[in-house]
Amino acid sequence: MTDQATPTPVGAPRRSGRHGAVQPSHLSSERLTRARELMALYPEPRSALIPLCHLAQEQDGWLTPEAMVDVAALVGVTPTEVLGTASFYDMLHTEPVGTHVVAVCTNIACLLGGAAELLEHAESSLGVNAGGTTADGVITLEEAECLADCDRAPCVQVNHRFVGAQTAESFDALMADLRSGARSEDIPSHGTLIRVRRSTGLEADPERVAAERAAMAEAQARRAAEAEAAKASAGGSGGAS
């Protein structure tokens, strides 16, 4: 600790991060708009970090360093914190991947259904080991953990779309379809996750909710008092009935 750089004075704006010194410049303006809409859904902007990483992957196919700088600036953390978080998650790729990410599950149910053999076939027919990308950059092959489609074993996903149980033959046909674009309708390229956008902002604003809660508590108290009074009057006239 002898050769320490001059520390940044407390309170001075950082190059990036919480103080927003860096303006997002990599994400498209349309995606920046969507990013801000997503952030507005959470009490704290950092909660949108993962949805924003998905948004960045939708643009670039993977999570680029430039996109992480943007995400950091948007949610108010450092790019390192974005990388440190994103690298924890299997779906966020901090290295380039193919246009299509093909995941073959080999977990227990699929293993019993012949998944190890299917993965072996996939590796030899694509000419890459699991984790690798074909030379033409079209397909990245992954050995996946359970994808929760166990009644259709061995289970395969392409870009997180389920394609049903696969045999060696159907797998090869599927790869050919991916290369020719025949499946582009139902299987968007890697990174596009949720094609349905949220149609509305938040409606239950805190003031409204507080007023509603107060009104509801009042109504409940009134109903309770009425019930109490009814019980008392029923008790009072009990002898007559």
Binding site: L41, Y42, P43, E44, R46, S47, A48, L49, I50, P51, C53, H54, V75, V77, G84, T85, A86, F88, Y89, D90, M91, L92, T106, N107, I108, A109, L111, L112, G113, E145, C146, L147, A148, D149, C150, D151, A153, Q157, N159, H160, R161, L193, I194, R195, V196, R197, R198, S199, T200, L202, E203, A204, P206, R208, V209, E212, A215, M216, Q220, R223
Partner: protein, 434 residues
């Protein structure tokens, strides 16, 4: 024991191809439960759930009504729905989010009303792209229909629901890891105490975390009353439950069955359910509740599908997924694959789990691939003992969450039930099944 014919509580719309649409939902009684709930006081709705004795369907089986009652009073509280289904061989929530998303949304709004929560996050596993789209579409439609948002159905109650995508991490199914992830961080579980979500949850505020299937039961419970739900099943296991059947059976799939009434034998062999084991083979073993659960053998096949019954026999009903292995299955290979899963998915927070899972996986691999050593069985059990001292069931733990003590289940079961197979692997230097 028998296969009863209970009402379909959560799978009634599955016969319809358009079961996910608002149109179909409304045509089949959709949002009636919510309308009814909104005429009741919130406490009365919670009381129905308590009467139903609805056990949480995520895996731990904690009564939902009691969980709700534990929510600390605070001006701001949250409801978080756990749709991060990733326990291997569990695929029931996958079905519910894709095929009946409105039922989930209705259940969520009912719960939000009972708990008086004004913002809900539905955390859905990132790999469920179609499920995320279907639930988001249902949320959009529910807002437009007046079932969500401000002044729901003119009741004066308002709640917002936000659909949140995960990004691929098994650990985020653990509720405190899920909350960390929802806060935009790595999915590291929080230590309990003090971080019980009901006291200190999302953003430090009191939070209820409920499973997708748990929520999906609520419309029926409100419509028919908690007592009608409690009348199904036996003992503490009330109502129906989704059982996901996979592995070596003729008809793998998700079955909604009355709790306790049906046995594992029925589920695996009945023609209307699993339809038996293919190729005329025999049952070797089955996993009764997700890969975190100890295995059962043919001797336990007559046990009923009930939470306490399975627990008393030394395992757990867990996430409701049953994996069947026939007599051509290599027990070493099966438990190695499960161990590899835990090794890949250990979040790395606690040393016994992070290091132990990796070592266990390496030892299992070398046994399966013919490099096993005579001392390996003791070494495996010793490493397991470091994660779950005493190797008891339910397990003790040396880790923050229960992922760690789940690792020894398959290894311990395989060694206990099929010790000879391990010895053959070691002696003959390879897998006898290959």
């Amino acid at each position: 024991m028998a296969i009863t014919d209970p009402p379909k509580i959560v799978t009634s719309r599955l016969p319809y191809a358009d079961s996910h649409t608002l149109e179909r939902y409304l045509a089949t009684g959709g949002y009636d439960g919510l309308r009814k709930a909104l005429t009741m006081i919130p406490e009365a709705v919670a009381a129905e759930v308590d009467t139903a004795s609805l056990l949480g369907r995520g895996g731990a089986g904690f009564p939902a009504g009691r969980k709700w009652a534990m929510l600390r009073k605070s001006p701001v509280t949250y409801l978080v729905v756990n749709g991060d289904e990733s326990e291997p061989a569990t695929f029931k929530d996958h079905l519910l989010v894709e095929r009946d998303p409105h039922q989930l949304v209705e259940g969520v709004v009912i719960a939000a009303y009972a708990l008086q929560v004004s913002r809900v996050f539905i955390f859905i596993r990132g790999e469920f792209a179609l499920g995320l789209e279907r639930v988001q579409a249902a949320v959009n439609e529910a807002y437009a229909h007046g079932a969500l948002g401000a002044d729901i159905f003119g009741s004066g109650f308002s709640v917002d629901v936000v659909v949140h995508p995960g990004a691929g991490a098994y650990i985020c199914g653990e509720e405190t890891a899920l909350l960390e992830s929802l806060e935009g961080k790595r999915g590291f579980p929080r230590i309990k105490p003090p971080f019980f979500p009901a006291a200190i949850g999302l953003y430090g505020e009191p939070t209820v975390v409920n499973n997708v299937e748990t929520m999906s039961n609520l419309p029926w419970i409100v419509n028919h009353g908690g007592a009608a739900f409690a009348a199904l099943g036996e003992g503490r296991s009330t109502g129906t439950r989704l059982f996901a059947l996979a592995g070596h059976v003729n008809n793998p799939g998700v079955y909604e069955l009355e709790m306790v009434k049906t046995t594992f034998h029925d589920l695996i062999h009945a023609p209307v359910l699993g339809g038996g084991i293919p190729h005329g083979r025999e049952l070797k073993a089955f996993i009764p509740g997700g890969v975190s659960a100890p295995w059962f053998g043919p001797d336990q096949i007559d046990l009923p599908l009930g939470q306490d019954e399975v627990a008393a026999a030394g395992s757990m009903l867990g996430s409701g997924s049953i994996v069947v292995m026939d007599d051509h299955t290599c027990a070493v290979r099966a438990s190695w694959r499960i161990t590899k899963f835990f090794s890949r998915e250990s979040c790395g927070e606690c040393t016994p789990c992070r290091e132990g899972s990796g070592w266990l996986e390496k030892i299992m691999e070398r046994i399966e691939t013919g490099q096993g050593r005579d001392e390996d069985l003791d070494l495996l059990l010793d490493a397991c003992d470091n994660i779950a001292p005493g190797l008891t069931w339910p397990p003790q733990q040396t880790t923050i969450c229960v992922l760690g003590p789940s690792i020894p289940s398959s290894i311990g079961s395989a060694i206990q039930m099929f010790r000879d197979e391990f010895l053959v692997h070691i002696k003959e230097g390879g897998c006898p099944y290959e």
